[in-house]
Symmetry: C2
Amino acid sequence: MEIENINVSSYPGSRKIYVDGVLFPIRVGMREISQYPTVKITDGHRTEIPNPPVTVYDTSGPYTDPDIQTDINRGLPRIREQWVVDRDDTVVLDNLSSEYGRKRMAMTELDAIRFPFLHNPRKAAEGRRITQMHYARKGIITAEMEYAAIRENLDNEKRGIKSYITPEFVRSEIAAGRAVITANVNHPEAEPMIIGKAFSVKLNTNIGNSALSSGIEEEVAKAVWSCYWGGDTLMDLSTGDNIHETREWIIRNCPVPVGTVPIYQALEKVNGVVRNLSWEIYRDTLIEQCEQGVDYFTIHAGVLRKHAELVKERLTGCVSRGGSIMTQWCVEHNEENFLYTHFDEICEILNKYDVTVSLGDGMRPGCTHDANDRAQFLELDTLGELTLRAWQHDVQVLVEGPGHVPMNKIEENMHRQANVCHDAPFYTLGPLTTDIAPAYDHITSAIGAANIALLGTAMICYVTPKEHLSLPDLNDVREGVITYKIAAHAADLAKGFPGANVRDDALSKARYDFRWKDQFNLSLDPEKARRYYLDARRNAPDADDRFCTMCGPDFCAMRISQKIAGSCES
Amino acid sequence: MEIENINVSSYPGSRKIYVDGVLFPIRVGMREISQYPTVKITDGHRTEIPNPPVTVYDTSGPYTDPDIQTDINRGLPRIREQWVVDRDDTVVLDNLSSEYGRKRMAMTELDAIRFPFLHNPRKAAEGRRITQMHYARKGIITAEMEYAAIRENLDNEKRGIKSYITPEFVRSEIAAGRAVITANVNHPEAEPMIIGKAFSVKLNTNIGNSALSSGIEEEVAKAVWSCYWGGDTLMDLSTGDNIHETREWIIRNCPVPVGTVPIYQALEKVNGVVRNLSWEIYRDTLIEQCEQGVDYFTIHAGVLRKHAELVKERLTGCVSRGGSIMTQWCVEHNEENFLYTHFDEICEILNKYDVTVSLGDGMRPGCTHDANDRAQFLELDTLGELTLRAWQHDVQVLVEGPGHVPMNKIEENMHRQANVCHDAPFYTLGPLTTDIAPAYDHITSAIGAANIALLGTAMICYVTPKEHLSLPDLNDVREGVITYKIAAHAADLAKGFPGANVRDDALSKARYDFRWKDQFNLSLDPEKARRYYLDARRNAPDADDRFCTMCGPDFCAMRISQKIAGSCES
């Protein structure tokens, strides 16, 4: 299969920059936005006062580096490969360990859709654990840790902004379980990033086809698009055909960590018959995906047999796909959830590749009515227990959270999770703060997401305008990502995250100076901001006019204000 | 001028209902959304369990009543006229009291754009005060108060939901200054509604042309559109040509209270030369607008001469149009703000028509950097002083608030306002919680609006996606209104406002039942929700399918969940 090369035009007024590591030979990609000078006119004299460029967090990877020729058919540069090799604790396998993986590989009819440049999988050497948590607990700072530390700090040092984030701090947070760097050794294309309360709030995007929609090309395009607009991590939730091959294309072309829910694929393997799921099939699926390079797995191990009854008390039952599948399995077999009973074995697989476990909240509320109920909080208790078990295996842990929660019940979610799950990073879906706005649930949920992030949630999973209605297309991905960038950034700003205000202040100063192009370039979506402005001024040149169509020249408060301040004559 | 009649198709699955008053012969309009039954299939038998209709707050007035033939050229029915007449404390004037009003009336060249059915203005009889606060303080319950009380309760009684809201409670809140019913006797077309912390959170929309855009027809269309989607009040912020005539068209066709910022028109009268503004011109403008029927005026009387200096310390100076105009006037004349020095006279004009004063926050922060600074809070102190002065004249008061405020500084805004302004209702613009997302400021601000509303703000002023860039068009008005309905409702839900959860629970139950039509009909924007759903199922009939394109049939959690609960066989 040939996928047309995806061109992601770089942001206007921006250039890719790299900051070098001190401990390791690493180069951390960032985006630098240039600014025009402020023009002052005093007594007829024009003075130009320069404005420094603004450095922003960049999730777009090589796609926005004009010096790197990306090619969807070859995949991204494998920047972490040498770091992993240098640690000398892994081996490259001769063949795939998963039976299913080998079976797919042998099917020549899949050659047409198979990613053409496959690599042999890498795995921990016999008896070794290779997780970032393992290293962190041993006091070892990895290249990934330094990379994440540099990335969080942007140009703070240059600006004289004090930041507590050092490679050693990153290490200590990972060692304590309060943060994760989710970085499978088989996804060396991903740029390391850190998820934890002490760091900038991250956002996850979901893509993936269902039985009713979308093909490989579209999903790869969505993945790249998501990274371009600012998605920090990406979940491939495909449930339709060719999940295995689709995932390979996505991972090889994705500069951010990729997550999945392996039970989806396991269910495909048993043709959608929940009863026929088994630990063996699931185990093989885990290994298959570990060796492809999935960075984190959502695992619904907290759904217990004894809690199935509680679903009946709810208004909308169980709305987690994985949760409902496992509940059904428990009920049909009258057995305990095999994800729970085999959890230690799962962890021993994960720590061979450094895959993070994201403990799924199968009982998350699907409506505000069901928020904070027994089903939800009893499962959370189990997730707390599983957190400790995963840590015993040096497996990094994220804990997933709701869902639909009215604003007054958000705080309890965060505090309980922190207490019960020993400060493992919380990763929530929204939450949606009301149920009455399908087609606008990016907004109902951004309100909840900003609030829970301010309270300490480390990563928020985006919701697009299509939530509850259909799968997102490219436009929805963009809308969802920008909306969640807003929620995450509003929380960073309110938390006083070091340097978070730099971009706000620069944009506001540009606004006050009528530096329209800078205002657009500094914004989260320069194209849309510029388009809205120009649409209203169709007949006017793209000039730095000293007013806008909102108020017109006579009623421009900023113009009047500058006049009062004596910095503007007109 | 002929304006094409505006047809506002009524909401799907809905009908207009009226609830009769007990104390007064009033009929309170509401919208009732019907529901399909829940279908259960047990052992092959199909049972239908009916779902009761849901009554929702309705701001669309006669436009959604098929029994009323609305005509933009004649204006809406004058429902409050008889109530006012019955109070027997007003007189109908033979002519306009405002000099400017009479001058415009005499200009035959304006006939072409003049609203064709003008009424003589009404005013308090000599020596009378006719404000709702005046009546409330005297212990009198008015028809407006009963109307507002019924409106807040919807079908709570029918559902057995206890509510504290009675006509007497409404009266007591108005008497205490904690709530307002903004209802000029010259705008009898408006349906009474109440703004106060103890009531459902309201949302204001802004429309109006600037020198660079839009005509009368477009503004009337925006006004009707705003009411259709759920705007509770409407500000006409026009600053371009023919402000007087545009306003007449809007008021005569607007079923919700209309507000203005009179200084805008006063400035037009002096051709945009701030220096030439005077108390006399402003006074005549107030009277002109009182007699047209404006329900509330934003008056920037808190902008003081001595605070002008503080603007210079800011990153973005003064961003309130009215505030910057008055600051400039103070500086140029080196005199105190005439709105402040003449505030008692202003109140004595307002209480003759029952116009509410909305104390403008001329020093609201225009960026997160400037939030909660000295300029803002010193002005707030003055607004507190003015609140008491207005109340001495029985004038109802709203207090306006910011603006741009990071989430961590929102609470201080609400608490200070409540303390300093003696619990007068707070009415905020957003606030925007970050500055970096022009083109998405409906979202940056909905986060702030939901939060400040939860803390006690009574009315939130919408922000559209075009904020900072240009004036909103019809689509932006819709997007802004729905976004703010979400923020307001999220706050109501979290406050535990009586009956607020009814619509959420009904929609969620419909979702769980796969009653797709009900899910759309119960939503804030049925058309968009339905469109998103159908777009993804282009080839499928508009049926109540038991899954959606998000997950497809095999991965539908709700479907699996119902199977577990035994209520669904498939």
